[in-house]
Symmetry: C2
Subunit: 147 residues, 2 copies
DNA sequence: TCATATAGTCAAACAACTTGACCAATAAGG
DNA sequence: CCTTATTGGTCAAGTTGTTTGACTATATGA
């Protein structure tokens, strides 16, 4: 493989990821929720049973302070609640509210819609394969801003 | 396709893109250049004939003020030079210096190295196909931070 | 030639993140 | 059990990369 191809691949990855994230965010807002793209990825970690701030920080690839601030924001907007952790009195369990669940569903719908546009371009099977390969490459790496 | 699969795909895309960008940056630094990931993508637009600040802004998906600041930074570190534009007295052509070319080559090497690790995981053919599909999806969309 | 658009920069404001300091609850070792 | 180290979380301050707004200089077009 030529050297410059690798950079082209990276650029394509970033462009695709950026486009998708932006569309999801637009879709979520169109469904009546205000937010930023990070919300959706936070929600996937909070559902179904909640998570601690530290869990969230690892999932998002940021410091726990940053994760804590995000939770503040989500709580202020009514998407999540901090509850005492059943097993550990230091920790607090962050769980989705009813509105948080609704927003999660909206994000999933918006994502499905955006991906459907890709299926129209390269075919559903190809999209599925894309996802499969990507999952094998970066199984559960942190979901964080790309540069 | 199930709704939640689409969010999973997005997360995988982001994780993969993030990992790749980070590795490239580390590789570039290991080769003796200081910088941040955006540099490499700026370079791909500046090579081979240079570009204006506005071109760069479009390529990176940021405002031209942000692009201008990036160019300041790159110039201060000796990677690029601002030269008068041959055809338009308002514009200035940003071109790579010799050191800028060296850094570009380093970025390409680092990228090739990072992608090679992927080829070991899923096979070179699969990686090539991945790149092909992604290019069809997001042909020349802006390369910008993903969330 | 006069209005309008475009290329670029300066400056200030802002958003998301980090680093550092700290407290409370737990876990580990004698 | 005490003591010490570790872990979960927050508060506060600082940093970074970005945007918005204002402005100048050149180009374009009726």
């Amino acid at each position: 493989m030529q050297n410059s191809e690798a950079l082209t691949l990276t650029a394509a990855l970033l462009a695709a990821a950026g486009e998708l994230t932006q569309r999801i965010n637009e879709g979520v807002e169109a469904r009546g929720f205000e937010g930023r793209p990070a919300y959706g990825f936070a929600f996937t970690r909070l559902a179904p049973d909640g998570a601690t701030v530290t869990d969230l920080a690892v999932h998002l690839g940021v410091t726990k302070q940053a994760a804590s601030q995000l939770v503040d924001e989500l709580a202020r907007k009514g998407y999540v609640e901090r509850r005492p952790h059943p097993d550990d009195a230091r920790a607090r369990l962050v769980v989705l509210t009813e509105r948080g669940w609704a927003c999660t569903r909206a994000a999933e719908e918006a994502a499905a819609e955006a991906v459907r546009a890709w299926a129209d371009l390269i075919g559903e099977g190809e999209v599925r394969m894309l996802g499969d390969r990507l999952l094998r490459i970066a199984p559960n790496g942190p979901v964080r801003p790309a540069w």
